[in-house]
Symmetry: C2
Subunit: 317 residues, 2 copies
């Protein structure tokens, strides 16, 4: 996997996706080999042409001789089975290029674990030697926005909408943008959209040394504007180099919190007598106990009395 063998990488990705304990072992083993790749997050509403844009951007980055890994969260398929089919369609152009690895993440039933799984997948592609990792999400769900927002560079893709329709984007999406893309820029309303974004930016008080997210017009289907987008990304990377550590740290904090929640719940279920969690849920459903009190009791039982006094660090620094 560390040598970048695509089948080994695919297997490792499946392990973390399935939350298999072997996946956790792989991640522990490779973690010290990670931290080299640059992460690009791309988000925007469904139908904004993100996949095509990612495809074009991948080719542009490949021209520089860099390898690329793509993680597509939410394959935006109306019916199930979209992920696998999506990968095939997406791979198409890069099929014979060993420098590109594309993976759609199945997120079904992945209660709140989206950020963790995506983060793990990025670590695997990082360890497998990919220079740039592009994470594509649909910018409507909070989890999806969070994922894109903790990348080294966050790109928000918008498209001109017809008539009076307001582009449906989650509040908070605009704030994460390091670079804006107005895709399908040949459509009516593209200039109006650029002006709207610019007007919104002007409302925020930005210091002279602060980064003002550029607005890049693209037509992903023809490739127009992709070089400009690549240049804008590079400019932001250069600008943000001194503060890159802060982003990386924020990403690590987010992942650690997710892992803590996840592992604590696993432990709790192991610690409790069989069926106990189910009995507590029954009592909540019967309104015999409220969820907050139940949660506090369960945690108390797991934590014992340790909660009342600070735990001394076994290895003081």
């Amino acid at each position: 996997m560390l040598a970048g063998d695509p089948r080994a990488v695919a297997r490792a990705l499946s392990l973390v996706e399935d939350d298999d304990p072997a996946g956790a072992s792989v991640l522990r083993a490779i973690f010290s080999k990670t931290g080299r790749a640059r992460l690009i997050g791309i988000t925007g509403p469904p139908g904004a042409g993100k996949s095509t844009l990612v495809d074009r951007l991948t080719r542009e980055i490949r021209k520089e001789g860099k390898t690329v890994g793509v993680i597509a969260v939410d394959p935006s398929s109306p019916f199930t089975g979209g992920a696998v089919l999506g990968d095939r369609v997406r791979m198409g152009r890069h099929f014979s290029d060993p420098g590109v690895f594309i993976r759609s993440m199945a997120t079904r039933g992945n209660h709140g674990g989206l950020a963790r799984t995506t983060g793990d997948a990025a670590l695997i592609l990082d360890a497998a030697g990919k220079d740039t990792i592009i994470i594509e999400t649909v910018g409507v769900g909070q989890g999806e926005v969070d994922i894109a927002g903790t990348a080294d560079v966050s790109i928000v893709v918008l498209v001109p909408t017809s008539g009076d329709e307001v582009q449906a984007l989650k509040a908070g999406v605009m704030e994460i943008a390091d670079v804006f893309v107005v895709n399908q820029a040949d459509r009516d309303g593209a200039d109006r959209l650029v002006q709207t974004i610019a007007a919104n930016q002007a409302l925020r008080t930005a210091g002279p040394e602060e980064w003002c997210p550029p607005i890049v017009k693209t037509i992903a289907t023809t490739g127009e504007g992709i070089m400009e987008l690549r240049a804008a990304i590079a400019r932001f990377q250069a600008h943000s180099a001194p503060t890159l550590g802060g982003r990386t740290r924020k990403r690590q904090e987010y992942r650690l919190r997710e892992l803590l929640s996840h592992r604590f719940l696993q432990r709790l279920e192991r610690v409790l007598p069989a069926g106990e969690l189910g009995r507590v849920i029954d009592r909540i459903t019967a309104r015999e106990i409220d969820p907050d009190t139940a949660a506090a009791e369960l945690i108390d039982r797991a934590l014992g009395t340790l909660d009342r006094s600070p735990v001394p660090d076994p290895r003081p620094e």
Copy 2:
């Protein structure tokens, strides 16, 4: 608040939205008064006309003399400030009707807490005496789909798309539908969309006693089809009455898990020496320790040795 005073309800909602400890106290105090309201989840892609549909459905339910609470998750505003403005626009028609309470939930920065906050808000409206609570989410994020999917009735709204565009919906959205709505049914492609949904349903092997989600055509702007939608909801409610407990229980389980994660992290930060979590994140960022090992160590320190042997139940049943 229990008397349904709108200002008291609004204040309680703000407390849970801000994750204020007083909000948790309110929820503990009112929990035994909840469980009476019926929850309707409505989800679908941005621009599907969900708000208008919710507005029409609210009026239809009001005609039956029932009170309605609406929780709109993700106000789909391209810029910040949309939630408050959205409430005013939404309230418009129901402004003078004390039997309707509408609230948009601000979800910005609400890392993974969306389901918890929405569930808490539903409890407050339930305790405040609302007979029916409609939760509207954008069906693209996983969290948003989960929320709609744990309601007593889940409605998936779709709209005909132009040309070859595939409607961008999260895989997993189709599976949660108890009722499908094809909104903007006067548009080209409406019948094609109905057929596509029906064809997809036929692929699944449904037993004769199993519920086959009806497909209701609506034009929310004119109100066409809303009575049929209301009837379809009532039919599902009658059909699902024997198994309603299972849904309620699933929802309680989901909320308990969220609460356990959330409260455990709060406790952990209190238990650890000041700045310890930050130091661990620094070590992860420096690749001195991997996140999984770090999480295990932190939980070990919190749990002490209790993890190794099952904790006896202090109050055996």
